[in-house]
């Protein structure tokens, strides 16, 4: 059979339909399509895809199982390296990781590794009753701060190695950014709950409403008998632009906007948490968080959603797939634009006018791309006198975060860098003995899979330390 030069298409919900619901956009491969896609894999000798995976999943091995229709076998291969299969299959940027290294990709489209991983994980979740086996305790206790991707990964690997693991979560639900940040239409929360449940079956304990640095300190976690602590507390305070008008009502950080909709379920009718729905919405930023915020605003009923980004489409850091999905859904990209002021309503005759202080527009300036900066990205330069106002009712600012101060300020001897990120060595170890860290708390805002990689590294270091 001749090799299909293209990846099998991922079936998706119709853009006109999905723009108005929170159900998952991508629908997943069918059994037949998955097997056919698996057969595109050349099973090449040097296996470059494995190097492209931050958690080094034995990709050709799981695909080989799939070729023989051994889906559960494929699952077990993935399970050796990753605890969050169904999550990774959905939110990993495979096109810059495993798939970017695929030998087939030199001439044709690479194998749809992410789509295959998702298929395997979903098939397992739907068809397997096999309960994860609890490993006999090795007597060592480890505390994990934060139940996001790095914490869950670290917990999973440690539990499988026999450690007694307790995960402390500041919010009321486990999952961290997978729950408060990534919307339902990209990652159904039932999938996250299922992954957390699997860890519970492995013996991992979860304590919610526990804000480490406040409710308990890192030192107290040691006093309670933990022999190591992993800090995966995630990204912190949202950055604002420091332009006039950011305090007007209707200006949200992306964290707040997404938390209201995702964690607090403001997208459902029966929840108590309010969110601004409808109207025109400007989202500032070009990353995946900006895409999530824009597409959430649309689904909440916005009549028009703009993405304002200061560089061009070429530099826009979000995944291509998400950008394409957003465009199909009708989100308008205002590229080479930068906000200079947010305009608010003001009735000079009536200070009690209920509309006072609500957003009415976002003034932007046109930008040009200048010379490349140190990172090689062309620097955006404002075009003098080119300002204009985009009428809108809400502005969502998605330009990144700065690390949370709570743990740093309550943990003596924990060194941080100039940006406030926790400093770790090549083993994930911080400046404090037996305190490890990883994920956004170390790197600043990054991806789910890089956080998982960091959780995995820390788990490996902890296991090696105690096996010495």
């Amino acid at each position: 059979m001749p090799l299909d030069p293209k990846k099998h298409e991922m079936p998706v919900q119709d853009p006109q339909v999905r723009a108005h619901n929170f159900s998952e956009v991508a629908l997943g491969y069918t059994h037949e399509v998955a097997i056919a896609e698996a057969k595109r894999c050349l099973n090449c000798k040097n296996r470059p895809c494995v190097q492209g995976c931050p958690v080094n999943i034995a990709i050709p091995d799981f695909i080989s199982c799939l070729k023989q229709d051994d889906i559960e076998g494929a699952y077990h291969v993935i399970n050796k390296s990753s605890s969050l299969h169904a999550v990774c299959g959905r939110v990993c940027p495979q096109e810059t990781q495993c798939e970017s290294k695929c030998t087939l990709g030199i001439k044709f489209e690479p194998v749809g590794i992410g789509r295959l991983e998702r298929f395997v994980a979903d098939w397992h979740n739907a068809n397997s009753n096999e309960a994860p086996k609890k490993v006999a305790s090795n007597g060592h206790r480890v505390a994990i701060v934060g139940s996001g991707p790095s914490g869950l990964t670290c917990a999973g690997d440690l539990a499988k190695a026999g450690f007694e693991v307790t995960v402390y979560e500041a919010l009321h639900t486990e999952g961290g950014v997978l729950v408060y940040g990534i919307p339902e239409f990209r990652l159904p929360k039932a999938i996250v709950a299922k992954e957390v449940d699997t860890l519970k079956q492995l013996g991992v304990e979860f304590v919610t409403n526990a804000v480490i640095g406040k409710t308990l300190t890192v030192d107290e976690l040691f006093e309670q008998g933990n022999e190591a602590v992993f800090i995966g507390s995630g990204a912190g305070l949202p950055n604002f632009m420091n332009i006039p008008g950011e305090a007007f009502k209707g200006v949200y950080s992306a964290n707040e906007f997404l938390t209201r909709s995702n964690l607090m379920k403001a997208f459902r009718d029966k929840c108590d948490t309010p969110i601004m729905k409808g109207g025109k919405v400007v989202v500032v930023g070009g990353g995946h968080v900006a895409m999530d915020a824009a597409r959430t605003a649309l689904r909440l009923g916005a009549e028009k959603v703009y993405i304002v980004y200061r560089r061009s489409m070429q530099e826009l850091p979000a995944r291509r797939e998400e950008v394409e999905h957003a465009e199909e859904e009708g989100i308008q990209f205002e590229l080479l634009r930068n906000p200079v002021e947010i305009i608010g309503y003001n009735n000079p005759d009536n200070p009690r006018d209920e509309r006072n202080g609500f957003v009415t527009g976002c003034k932007v300036i046109k930008m040009e791309l200048g010379e490349p900066d140190a990172k090689g990205r062309r620097r955006p330069i404002p075009v003098e006198g080119s300002e204009y106002v985009i009428d809108c009712d809400a502005v969502v600012i998605a330009i990144g975060t700065s690390p949370n101060p709570l743990i740093k300020s309550t943990t003596k001897g924990l060194e941080v860098n100039a940006h406030g990120g926790i400093i770790v060595n090549e083993d994930g170890l911080t400046s404090r003995a037996n305190v490890y860290a990883g994920g956004d708390a170390v790197t600043g805002a990054a991806t789910v899979i890089s956080a998982m990689g960091a959780g995995k590294l820390a788990a490996k270091s902890i296991i090696e330390y105690f096996n010495k």
């Binding site: 500041a170 919610t208 409710t215 305070l237 929840c271 309010p274």
Partner: protein, 282 residues
């Protein structure tokens, strides 16, 4: 789940509860707050801690019924439980090194001002308290304030109890009479805290205000609680959950804070009415 150990109505709209939360009780200090959720579909709301007991693991909260969530909370009985209770959050009020302070509380804010007054009194600081209420029916914690204060002045807006007028009147009199305070700590409606700050300004007394903006996570993640401080003429964004809730009154942009607090007023009004109807029909 967190058990309601006791429940007591302090006045027709203000209720006091003790919640079983040993981890919070072990750490709680005056000026800090908690975040709670009443039930599975509930919103997260911040409430300042009104007292705590390390031995019993009880954390005292005092709240006014203003919206859907506080209405639902108010309908919970002793022995029942609430879904979530996280804390203690925020920085405690700084009490060290002060010989003489004036505590100015307004309305339900007095519930939070009381543990601050008590913390000062316990370390030997001379406490003068001024507490104000709209009317006699809304008066709370008078005896407790009297016990913690060297001098207590009670005010009502309508004169239905004690002195007639708002809290700035006696504060101004004391300051004009040359009374020295190392600090004024004011907790209550934002508009009151603004005017307490303006009253104190000509006398150069430091003023600390306790801000209670809209919050979601309360741990330094969402940025909803941001407010603007004017530090040396420069406008700086701060987050009440991790940088506060106490701030230097002379730096806070009160008007902006008041406007932001009204963001969901129409939504809250409607939600409160719907919740009330649910309980009426139940």
């Amino acid at each position: 789940m967190y058990k309601i150990l006791s429940r007591k109505e302090l006045n027709p709209t203000v209720t006091q509860m003790e919640i079983e939360a040993p981890l919070v009780a072990a750490k709680a200090k005056a000026g800090q707050f908690i975040i709670l959720r009443v039930d599975e579909d509930g919103e997260r709301i911040p409430l300042t801690i009104a007292g705590s007991n390390k031995e019993t693991g009880a954390v005292k909260i005092i709240f006014q019924v203003v919206g859907a969530t506080t209405e639902k909370l108010n309908h919970k009985k002793e022995g029942e439980s609430i879904q979530d209770f996280a804390g203690p959050l925020g920085k405690p009020t700084e009490i060290e090194g002060k010989k003489s302070v004036c505590i100015v509380g307004g309305g339900v804010g007095c519930a939070i001002a009381l543990p601050v007054a008590q913390a000062f009194a316990a370390q030997g600081t001379e406490v003068t308290s001024i507490i104000g209420f709209r009317n006699k029916d809304l008066l709370i914690l008078e005896d407790e304030f009297r016990a913690a204060s060297k001098e207590l002045i009670v005010m009502t807006d309508d004169g239905s109890y004690a002195r007639h007028g708002n809290v700035t009147v006696p504060l101004k009199e004391l300051l004009e009479a040359g009374r020295h305070f190392d600090e004024i700590i004011t907790i209550g409606p934002v508009i009151m805290m603004k005017f307490v700050t303006l009253t104190a300004k000509p006398f150069n007394v430091p003023v600390t205000v306790s801000m209670n903006p809209i919050m979601i996570d309360g741990t330094g993640m969402c940025g909803g609680c941001r407010l603007t401080l004017v530090e040396d003429g420069k406008r700086v964004t701060k987050f009440a959950c991790v940088d506060g809730p106490d701030f230097n009154g002379y730096e806070v942009d009160f008007d902006e804070a008041m406007s932001r607090a009204r963001m969901y007023f129409p939504f809250e009004r409607k939600a409160h009415e719907e919740t009330c109807n649910l309980f009426k029909n139940a």
